[in-house]
Amino acid sequence: MLKAVFKLFAVSLCLLSGLARAAEAEPVRFALIDPLTGPMSVVGQPALAQLQFTAERLNKEGGMDGHPIEIVGYDNKINPQESLVQLQKAIDDGIRYIIQGNGSSVGSALLSAINKHNQRNPDDRVLYLNYAAIEPSFTNERCSFWHFRFDSHVDMKMNMLTDWIAENPDFKKVFLINQDYSFGHTVSESAMRMLKEKRPDIEIVGNTFHPLGKVKDFSPYISKIKSSDADVVITGNWGQDINLLIKSAAEYGVDVPFLTYYGSTPGTITQVGDKGVDRVYLIAEYHGDFTDPEIAERQVALYKEKGWDYYPRVAAMLEMMKAAGDKADSIDPLAVAKTLEGFEYDAAGGHLTMRAEDHQLQMPLYLSVLKDNMKHGAEGTDYNFHQVAHFDADQATLPTTCRMRRPD
């Protein structure tokens, strides 16, 4: 009798402790390795704010496969070597999901380091979730099973920009101005190649490179654009190079569209302001109209809470990870990675598919232009990007040369 009571007691104790463990399940942690201090923190902090904001909401919905999502920021000062130290720290802290976006040099370092880590530690694998390093090779010749890209790469975006130009018969002369480094050259080369294919009659009236981040006065470049009589300008500029370029264009009355990759980088809208209206075009995963009331609500809430604008693709990335974890019924990186292959998800911008072949997200893209008096202004202003054109995921897609090696 005593034994039976004791047994009952022991069993109930086990059950209770089991319940307690389920209630506070171990968190699944994501490391954000991005610049979080210094001048470049304006590109890392918004992502951190967005991730924390989205994680909070997802945790209310039960977290990833029952595990609460936790975001840990690691400051890499946008330096590749420092990123590897931070990566090691994150792995030591038991984090198996690494998020990074800013700088393809950092992306390259993380990609090769994570590949090697997974090869050398088969029991302890790590996934690399890339939300903004858009060097095409990451999902082509350098593709890896452990890397997932949640942004369209340079060529995909250029594909849509050139489609838009090609469809508009008024555009006859295109001017290319880019920063003189690998990314700028990639933009210029793919623009020339695609324009030649799509509209051989279009004339490239200028293909200029300027030093990266060193030009204080863009007027010589602008007068070149003006005298070339260009109808449209394509630029991959970011940071102060885009701010000063647009301001200078406004001062000299160059009223042609500037098609940009990074017109929405934090700080740009505040600095460019009125001078960018009807001049800065942006190719991105969403637009500033916030037609979806739920997303609009979140934009308002996030800006109020953290002082940063909504970052749609970062939010979509975390939502997708949660959904994939739920579906895989696991938070094990390998299981989640296998589920992510071919995974589909509906986000703010439309239907997303993580292509299994190369782990490149296939998503709709939007071309938008900066407007004043928008309902939901960016950076606390009244300016934001108003949709001009929408491209389906099928339209934006490009073939890949990836030959993926998968783990058993």
């Binding site: 923190s41 000062k77 070597q81 590897l84 090691q88 380091a113 090697k116 690998s182 030093p211 990266l212």
Partner: protein, 413 residues
């Protein structure tokens, strides 16, 4: 100092260093700590090589990263050659072990310094600083334009687990790389110390102190500077070679002005006048750079403040401070002088605490609380005047102790 040291006294620092390097793996187990230790080792070599120029040769360089970066590029390209040769196991590179890559880095760095250095070394001082600044910018800008050599923005990457394996050391984890780093840092530090003992090393001090007189007695300062420049370039390249093996990637950032500035920062914080100063500086700066940002978003500000404080109040650096204590101990004056110094240290600590507290409070007002505040156990409300009164009290106490200990020191000397 012309004190003749007994061989044991001279050997002691090396034996202690060796012992520390051997004991570290017994105390440390996490790969993250090992990767920071490896980074410290690289930075020690880099900072010491920089001090060959600035501290010993009197040449202020803003382009030292060029040799570090080129050494790293040389090593990583050779690493790729070893990897490619590994497929058929033929040729020279198939038998070249990865452990020797720092030598390749040394050769690359020294060669680069040999090729560009001659015109630079005619003058020291501002002219030299300006020219090296130009060189640094030139190479950094050029590196973005030759993607086949420098790998463009993405850099050149490789795999260190190639080529013959020695002593069963596979270099898979940071803990394995530790042995590699420990060996090379000890060897490089010893070699650079030995360099200071050579006639050339002695003469480089003379060039720093009075180039005109040296010219007069028949040693052309330009030749001496050039030789030191080559040696410093070589050792920076050796550090670069270690970095190539450690990171398995080299990007154009490693050639740039920021990396050059890091060398200056480490050497200056540690102390230019003492041989081991840059070692101390490399440890402090690396740890601050890699760990401080975990606790506070204002980490860069703190690094800058430390640099400012050292340059303004302790121009001999942290190593200089240690040396001062050591000298006084040797003269048997330590018991007399120590209270004054301790008082100074306490005042620095108090003022630093006040400064940190006020920075964190201001930061809290604008951005919300970060982790450092929690670590220090501070949960104050920045809007309460009492808290600010506390900060003022810290400053006042620090100032008071500083005055008192200064008077004390002056009375005793």
């Amino acid at each position: 100092m012309s004190l003749r040291l007994s061989p044991w006294r001279a050997l002691a620092p090396w034996l202690i260093s060796l012992l520390v390097l051997l004991v570290i793996p017994l105390l440390v187990s996490s790969n993250g700590t090992f990767s920071i230790i490896n980074l410290i080792a690289i930075n020690i070599v880099f900072a010491l090589s920089y001090n060959m120029l600035l501290g010993q040769g009197g040449m202020l360089s803003f382009g030292h990263a060029v040799f570090f970066g080129l050494g790293a590029y040389g090593a990583i390209h050779v690493m790729n050659l070893i990897g490619d040769a590994g497929y058929d196991g033929q040729g020279f590179w198939a038998h070249f072990p990865v452990y020797l890559l720092p030598l390749v880095g040394f050769a690359t760095g020294a060669l680069a310094a040999l090729l560009v250095g001659w015109p630079f070394c005619r003058r020291a001082g501002t002219a030299f600083a300006m020219i090296t600044l130009g060189l640094g910018e030139l190479v950094a800008a050029g590196s973005q334009m030759f993607p086949t050599v420098f790998g463009g923005e993405a850099g050149v990457f490789s795999n260190r687990m190639v080529g013959p394996v020695w002593f069963g050391l596979e270099l898979a984890q940071p803990a394995d790389v530790y042995w590699f780093s420990a060996f090379w840092v000890l060897l490089a530090v010893f070699a650079m110390w030995a360099f200071t003992r050579t006639p050339l090393g002695r003469m480089s001090n003379a060039v720093r102190d009075n180039a005109e007189r040296l010219q007069f007695i028949g040693y052309p300062p330009r030749n001496l500077r050039f030789l030191v420049f080559i040696a410093a370039g070589g050792f920076a390249g050796l550090g670069g070679g270690m970095a190539a093996v450690n990171y398995e990637i080299v990007t154009p950032e490693s050639l740039g002005l920021l990396t050059s500035g890091l060398a200056l920062l480490m050497a200056a914080v540690g102390g230019l006048g003492v041989f081991y100063g840059p070692i101390v500086g490399a440890i402090v700066v690396t740890v601050m750079n890699s760990l401080l940002s975990d606790y506070t978003d204002a980490s860069i500000l703190y690094v800058g403040l430390v640099f400012l404080a050292v340059v303004m109040f302790a121009p001999a650096g942290l190593g200089g401070g240690v040396e001062q204590v050591r000298q006084s101990w040797r003269r048997g004056e330590l018991t007399r002088q120590l209270p004054g110094w301790l008082g100074g240290a306490v005042s620095v600590l108090l003022i630093a605490l006040g400064l940190v507290a006020s920075i964190e409070l201001v930061y809290q007002l604008s951005h919300g609380r970060d982790k450092l505040a929690q670590v220090l156990g501070l949960q104050p409300d920045p809007s309460s005047p009492l808290v600010w009164l506390g900060v003022v009290a810290l400053f006042a106490a620090g100032y008071g102790v500083a005055r008192a200990s200064k008077n004390y020191r002056e009375a005793r000397s």
